[in-house]
Amino acid sequence: MPMSEFRMPSLGADMAAGTLVAWKVKPGDHVTRGMVVAEVETDKGIIEVEIFEDGVIEQLIVQPSQKVPVGTVLALLRHNGAPPAPPPPAPVPVMTAAGAPPAPSAPPAPAAERERVRVSPVARRLAAELGVDLSSVQGSGPHGAIERADVEAAAARKAAVAPPPSAPVTPAREPERPAGGDAQAAMRRAIAAAMARSNRDIPHYYLETRIDMSRPLRWLEAENQKRSVRDRLLPAVLLIKAVARALGDVPELNGYWIDDCHQPQEAINIGFAVALRQGGLVTPAIHHADLKSLDELMEALRDLITRVRSGRLRSSDLTDGTVTVTNLGDLGVEKVYGVIYPPQVALIGFGKVTEQPWAEGGMLGIRPVLTATLAADHRATDGRRGAQFLEALTRHLQEADKL
């Protein structure tokens, strides 16, 4: 196919719709994979959306300030070398399931290729009202006909993962500002939906371990003494790198559970929970954390936090996380029992480093101790794998010089 569709991405399991704030390209522009082509406002603020294919922008379909469901075609992209095409008829907004995996490089098959779905009239009307994508609904009626109950069930599933969707393609009179009370409420609803889905669908198991941090902290102190203030490393970087390494040892915890299917991911993209000043949180991903040096990780972390606070996150920041790390030690918390961010299968929590009595080799001493917890999806892994992960995490932290 010489043309492809650039769609409103799902920037997380909790996103149902987004408002196009601005285009960064115009028809005729050449774009390359990874280029920021648009700004989209979600409950998490304004996100810079990247494109995942190379080509030439053929047509911009959705105009700035329009709010559209996830999956709506935003623009048409002509592949390099293909001749310009006559403008196609205006596409009907298509919503994909809000909980769909982030897979922007694989657009769904065009509707024309699908078999006609049998839908009862009331089911069709209800689906339109509730923003349910009928192509994602399994019909239970005669010959697979989708009936009202099927749509209601799909809407209930959707409501569990997304805030109430707005009507398709409703031009927002004024884009909501993230600082506004409405935006905060929307983010709260989004978090509520994702976390409720997680606690309902994911059978969590929890493991915790105490880690003697004397050696890594000693190493960090010595390392930082060699550096200028600007280049100093934060303990969080050690934790992120150690998690990435440990996930390399236990890859089952890195990835997704989608459609009753465990999908471990090759790339280790660590979603790092960052609280927002105005309330709520986001978990932008540090890409390929296992392949980055500590300095690169420090840079990536600094960049992420700056962009979170200034509201300049990119779509790939929000969609690519394969696991989540949450560190509440700054706030004095000793242990974190996290709720997994669907469709991920694990969340690692770190508490505060506290001085604690520590018995080792028949001797009692006082050591800086960190409690690491693992919340994992029991559908994807068992406690033994989880235990191996925490063991590996401890081991990598003890060898901080090799991180």
Binding site: S120, P121, V122, S140
Partner: protein, 333 residues
């Protein structure tokens, strides 16, 4: 029901008789005529005792000519009387078809609005009594096709008692279809029971899963089916149309909007019947409420058999309604 709360045991037959008695007492313009309504007391014994009470002027036996006595009724009505004409059974009404269709239904229109025909024609309808192919029709749907008349089908004691007076008050011809199998139906009515409307359908049983739309004797099969279905957790809304012309669309459309499924039960033949009309109106005005195709349960399209088991097999039955609804609702409840 209001007023005197005292309940009186009564059959459907007695309720119709009480209605006629009350009408003749209240309004001296009201009289009854038809075959054997006087000395014999009516073919179905509905008018028994009325001759003795009101005399031969007001309870008149007629010759066996439906065309003649329905025509006479039309003339009497046009001249200020309020006749109740009894046609023994609906098949005999065909002999008066010209009078009903070409005169009663048209005179108001053809006289430029000068002459109303405040005539009431009562007739027995329906099968189930082993009277075979010539006396078992349900042709009320045919008459409901005709503009200019009203067609009402009392099913309950209350309606048998109350619809007649309202029909007599109507300035235009009203045909009352009394299902012959209902005459022996016994129940209780308040002593104060009186006129009821003749233009609204009624929800006789409330439920959220399916609308069973029916009238006449089939109402009781529908209610029986609804009780059976309720044991499976399927709650049926049972709509008694009561009036087939004009149809009270709003009531059954509201029911369908609630349940999203409709089955119409009609003792008439399936093709080109009142059930087809109801189904079409649902399709036209409640299409986007439907969660399943509208179903019809009607009589098998054969001349009504005489043999009891064949006759029963030809008629809509509660079991058929149950099976149809279960298929429509299947796994969703």
């Amino acid at each position: 029901m209001s007023g005197n709360g005292q309940m009186v045991p009564m059959t459907y037959r007695e309720a119709v008789r009480e209605a006629m008695r009350e009408a003749m007492r209240k309004d001296e313009r009201v009289f009854l005529m038809g075959e054997d309504v006087g000395r014999y007391g009516g073919c179905f014994a509905v008018s028994k005792g009325l001759l003795q009470e009101f005399g031969p002027e007001r309870v008149r036996d007629t010759p066996l000519s439906e065309s003649a006595f329905v025509g006479a009724g039309i003339g009497a009505a046009m001249n200020g009387m309020r006749p109740i004409v009894e046609v023994m059974t609906v098949n005999f009404s065909l002999l008066a078809g010209d009078q009903i269709l070409n005169n009663a239904a048209t005179i108001l229109h053809m006289s430029g609005g000068l002459f109303n025909v405040p005539l009431v024609i009562r007739m027995a309808t329906g099968a189930g009594r082993q009277v075979a192919a010539q006396h078992s029709h349900s042709l009320e749907g045919w008459f409901a096709h005709i503009p200019g008349i009203k067609v009402i089908t009392p099913a309950t004691l209350e309606d048998a008692r109350g619809m007649l007076w309202t029909a007599l008050e109507d300035p235009d011809p009203v045909l009352i279809f009394e299902h012959a199998s209902l005459y022996n139906m016994a129940g209780e009515l308040p002593a104060s029971a009186g006129p009821v409307d003749i233009d609204r359908a009624r929800v006789r049983r409330s439920g959220a899963d399916v609308s069973i739309i029916t009238y006449g004797a089939c109402l009781f099969k529908a209610l029986e089916a609804a009780e059976t279905l309720a044991r499976d957790g399927i709650e049926a809304d049972v709509v008694d149309l009561r009036t087939l012309r004009p149809l009270d669309d709003e009531t059954f459309l509201a029911s369908v909007a609630k349940t999203h499924r409709a089955v119409i039960v009609d003792e008439g033949w399936r093709s080109v019947g009142i059930s087809a009309e109801v189904s079409a109106r649902i399709m036209e005005r409640a299409f986007y409420e439907l969660d399943a195709p509208v179903e019809r349960i009607c009589s098998v399209e054969v001349p009504m058999p005489y043999a009891r088991h064949l006759e029963q097999a030809a008629l809509p039955q509660a079991e058929t309604i149950v099976a149809t609804v279960q298929r429509m609702v299947h796994a969703h409840v």
